[in-house]
């Protein structure tokens, strides 16, 4: 019995309807507890938070921080680390490198330093699951999990083509168990297989994927239905077809329709909201208002943004043909990696410039999404780290959302036609601190179905970020006064005080054991590793947290 009290802070806990009230928080054994009934109870430790802003630990629901693709990007980009800040070894912590793709230890420390205590990698091929888990082992402090790529998986496409929804459902459950993943991810469904086979792409969701004789729409609808029936805590997570292509907003709208009322999360939706004609750059424009209206009126859908910020970064994606497209556009070095039966991958360095009309419009389109979704519980903050920008840009994005003048200053400096192509200049909305707390922790935790995260109520993990209020919002969020993980102060004013191994969060949905024989038969025909060596072992994750599917 060791009680820890965070006393007198101004608390923002949107899930429990607490909007800036001065409160005490009580923690015991790493969890929040009800205040003791005896008002005379003296805690073992008290942290005086008076005058400070208290929020749950941040939750990043879509980033690329581990696994084969991320690690290739680390290897590929020595040049950007030379001038980047260094992460020095200290008496308690390991060293690392930054740049757009930080090393594992640096990733854990930097997320924690920003007040984020949970992060989910968005795209792991099942064959790379063991690799991702190994990296998680070396990614300290934060709790983490990943989504498993299934949108170009041959078994998935086969079951959809053969109209075997039960087999599909069993396979997805089995796959999540084998990989210790968290949810099902679609990346350019069907299109990556077209790339792997022919070098082309699927350009619309009703195009047939040869050999498998399925359409992206069927994959979207089949997997969203299966994920729904499996009652996964986080529904199907969709990276739509035609990412980055002018005119793709219609594909995105069709994708929203294709889930047919099932719950679905559309990710880095900024990259999928473009109007215009792919062959004429001067027609490029925002179509966020129409898409946001659709989301506003369909409560089965949630989104994260994938905000672009002006800086050098690395594009990395399971969308193989997109990697090739970016290589052709930028002329820069290119990695492509195809994984048997499962997935693709593309990596290209990219610089987003405020002098570029296209890039500036992408920046504006991201902000439109935050400002045009009426209910902040339906939109999560993301940069699709590192695709749109590093996660370390979150404080700057928060400042942009809370300050329309700051947005206008940027609009004045970018090519003037940007304002004609989107509605950003007309959007006066400014986020409140409570809304910031929603889009950076409470909403993503809710979308993920993580009941023990994103709030400060009794029973939740005692992950807390405490900020010093500042007129300079960016500075306030860049340098939390304290970050607390499971009731232990891990960061003070940007310095790591304690090193911890975080937990790996995954699901373990049930499946029909009789369904495995067919999977094994298919597997043994096509894979180059043994069926028995595919699954993560029972004891391979030293710190795991299983979220129930109910």
């Amino acid at each position: 019995m060791s009680l820890f009290k965070i006393a007198g802070g101004t608390v923002y806990d949107p899930l429990n309807n607490i909007d800036g009230e001065v409160r005490d928080l009580w923690i015991e054994d790493g969890k929040f507890v009800e205040p003791p009934s005896d008002p005379g109870t003296i805690p073992a430790r008290t942290l005086d938070a008076s005058g400070l802003v208290v929020m749950p630990g941040g939750v990043d629901m879509h980033c690329h921080i581990a696994g084969p693709k991320v690690n290739v990007a680390r290897k590929m980009r020595p040049e950007e680390k030379r001038l980047a800040d260094k992460v020095h070894r200290t008496a308690h912590t390991r060293s690392g490198t930054l740049g757009s793709v930080p090393s594992t230890f640096a990733t854990g420390y930097k997320y924690a330093g920003l007040g984020y205590t949970t992060a989910f990698d968005a795209a792991i091929p099942p064959l790379g699951a063991r690799h991702a888990h190994e990296e998680f082992h070396d990614t300290p402090i934060i709790d983490k999990g990943f989504y498993v790529l299934v949108g170009n998986n041959h078994y998935v496409m086969k079951q959809i083509q053969e109209q075997e929804p039960e087999r599909l459902k069993n396979y997805l459950a089995w796959l999540l168990q084998m990989t210790k993943g968290y949810s099902c991810k679609l990346v350019n469904p069907g299109g990556v297989e077209v790339w792997k086979r022919t070098g082309g792409n699927a350009t619309g969701i009703d195009e047939t994927v040869e050999h498998f004789n399925v359409t992206p729409r069927q994959i979207i609808s089949g997997v969203s239905q299966a994920a729904g029936e499996l009652r996964l805590p986080h529904p199907v997570h969709i990276h739509c077809n035609n990412l980055g292509i002018p005119g793709n907003w219609q594909t995105t709208l069709e994708t929203m329709r294709a889930v047919d009322g099932h719950r679905a999360h559309l990710t880095h939706v900024q990259f999928h909201s473009y109007g215009g004609n792919p062959d004429e750059q001067q027609t490029f424009c925002s179509e966020v208002p129409q898409l946001a209206e659709y989301v506003n009126t369909h409560d089965n859908l949630t989104v994260d943004v994938g905000q672009v910020m002006f800086a050098e970064t690395t594009s990395m994606t399971g969308d193989g043909p997109l990697g090739y497209f970016l290589h052709k556009v930028t002329g820069r070095k290119w990695f492509s990696g195809d994984t048997e039966m499962e997935a693709g991958c593309g990596i290209v360095p990219i610089v987003y410039k405020d002098k570029s009309m296209v890039h500036a419009l992408q920046w504006a389109i991201g902000l439109e999404w935050y400002l045009l979704i009426n209910d902040p519980w339906r939109v999560a903050m993301s940069t699709d780290h590192p695709n749109g920008a590093s996660f370390m840009a979150y404080p700057e994005i928060i400042a942009l959302l809370m300050d329309r003048e700051r947005r206008r200053e940027v609009l004045e400096r970018v090519p003037s036609s940007v304002s004609e192509r989107c509605t950003l200049a007309d959007l006066d909305r400014e986020y409140t601190l409570n809304e910031i707390a929603i889009v950076t922790r409470a909403a993503p935790a809710k979308m993920l179905g993580l009941r023990h995260k994103g709030h400060l109520g009794s029973g939740a993990d005692a992950d807390v970020t405490i900020y010093t209020p500042d007129d300079d919002i960016q500075q306030m969020f860049e340098l939390p006064r304290f970050v607390i993980r499971r009731g232990v102060v891990v960061v003070e004013q940007g310095e790591i005080r304690e090193d911890f191994a975080g937990e790996t969060i995954h699901v373990a949905p049930g499946y029909d054991p009789d369904a495995v024989a067919d999977i094994q038969n298919w597997f043994e025909q096509h894979y180059t590793i043994q069926f028995a060596n595919y699954a993560m072992g029972q004891d391979e994750l030293p710190h795991e947290h299983v979220v129930a599917t109910e």
Binding site: H131, R197, F335
Partner: protein
């Protein structure tokens, strides 16, 4: 009684280990069926000639668990001395790592970080140039199952897989029937480019015997031909390959549905080095204008790919990483072990699962023999013989579980055949790390 004797007769039961993994080469075949009698593997179903040698010649040697200056000492004493050597050095280097598990690689990197050393792996003397080329031009690649299921054109360059990776042809590349190449070998065109007509040449449709040291010129000419640029016929004088032959091969590459270039150290370790790898990676990349084409280095050691991955995720760089300033810096040639030793810079060494005393340059070996060193090896290697502190360790994959990465970055779990009386690399390294941390934290508390 010695350690090896102590386990004699303790485990004589016969058992079968299925889905075991051979870690001898970068193929990392995981379909071994091992028959184990006591502490001996007597059958290794599915193993190639190299794999059989690996499994059958692995017997527990009767060596002390730890020695200092060649004299047997208790384990704890050896750990203490190792920690002392590594913490008192000003330029300690860590080297090797390609024949041990990812789990022990992680600890070796942690130790190097804590002591501010320099970490390097055998990559720097095999496919290091490919790693550097990759940083220059990128890489279009795929897993070995993609080769099996899709590749209708194979170009082997500067390697002899028939003898270095004996099951590569049958399991992954040349022979297997695959999803989109249902007739296996018949559906594939295979070409070998090498300076010698090796055993691998017999398995090919086309063999191009090039003049030594002309790989770069040949690859560059092929890039030109692929792009439709006229190439001077004197390419034949330079490379030994007639322009007509070259044109024919390039046309076949463009006409293929899915091509792969699999390149070996004959490319990366000859004149041009990383420029050769760059040319070949760029050639494969360029061909994606016309069809799907990929490239892949043929990695040698069982877990050298794991070493690359783990050094990369820990430090941001794949090999040749200095942590002396308290953060990672990368510079092949400056921080690679063969160089820090040859220049006489390193003043202590931690060598894990490799034998630089039998393959480094003379100046490097002379210096390594002079400085205090800590060596972990299942065998009494040439390097173990000159070690200040030597640990006999269990053999990965045969005696220990853990993870290794196949040459295409696919991680594969290990299933040990029998227990070794010796500790694993991971256990020894963890003991050294723990002792180093105790010393450091005590010193920082006191100071």
């Amino acid at each position: 009684m010695s350690i090896a004797e102590a386990t004699e007769g303790k485990t004589t039961e016969l058992k079968i280990v299925k889905d075991a993994t051979c870690t001898f080469c970068g193929c990392v075949c995981d379909d071994m069926e091992l028959t184990v009698e006591g502490n001996k593997i007597t059958k290794a179903k599915n193993a190639c000639v190299l794999g059989k040698a690996w499994f059958f010649n692995h017997h527990i040697e009767d060596r002390p668990e730890a020695t200092i200056e060649g004299e047997p000492v208790p384990f704890e004493e050896a750990v203490e001395r190792a920690a002392e050597i590594l913490t008192s050095a000003t330029y300690p280097i860590t080297y090797g790592l390609s024949d041990t598990t990812s789990e022990s690689q992680r600890v070796a990197i942690a130790i190097t970080d804590w002591i501010g050393g320099t970490i390097d792996t055998t990559t720097s003397v095999c496919h290091g140039p490919s790693g550097m080329a990759f940083q220059g031009v990128g890489e279009v690649t795929c897993s070995l199952g993609e080769v099996k299921n899709r590749a209708d054109f194979l170009l082997f360059w500067g390697g002899n897989p028939a003898e270095s990776h004996p099951r590569h042809f049958t399991r992954y590349s040349l022979m297997p029937k695959g999803q989109f190449v249902p007739n296996g070998r018949k559906d594939r065109t295979a070409v070998l480019i090498d300076v010698r007509k090796t055993k691998s040449a017999k398995a090919m449709d086309i063999f191009l015997q090039i003049k030594p040291r002309s790989d770069f010129e040949l690859a560059w000419a092929m890039r030109g031909l692929a792009a439709g640029i006229d190439i001077d016929p004197d390419i034949e004088q330079i490379t030994g390959i007639p322009l007509k032959t070259l044109k024919d091969v390039v046309e076949r590459m463009k006409a293929a549905k899915f091509g792969v270039i699999l390149f070996g150290m004959g490319l990366t370790m000859t004149r041009g080095k990383h420029l050769n790898s760059e040319a070949v990676l760029a050639l494969a990349r360029d061909l994606n204008k016309y069809t799907r084409f990929t490239a892949k280095p043929m990695r040698g050691h069982g877990n050298v790919t794991g070493a690359d991955n783990i050094v990369s995720w820990s430090t941001g760089y794949p090999f040749g990483v200095s942590l002396t300033r308290g953060y990672p810096r990368f510079n092949p040639g400056e921080f690679t072990s063969s160089d820090t030793l040859a220049r006489g810079e390193a003043d202590a060494a931690l060598i894990i699962a490799s034998d630089p005393m039998s393959n480094f340059s003379n100046p490097a070996r002379q210096h390594l023999a002079k400085i205090p060193s800590v060596v972990l090896d299942p065998k009494l290697s040439e390097t173990a013989k000159v070690a200040t502190v030597a640990f006999t360790t269990a053999t990965y994959g045969i005696n220990t579980s853990g993870t290794v990465y196949r040459m295409d970055d696919i991680p594969i779990p290990l299933r040990p055949a029998f227990e070794s009386p010796y500790r694993s690399d991971e256990e020894v390294l963890k003991a050294i790390e723990t002792r180093i941390r105790e010393k450091q934290l005590a010193a920082s508390a006191g100071g």
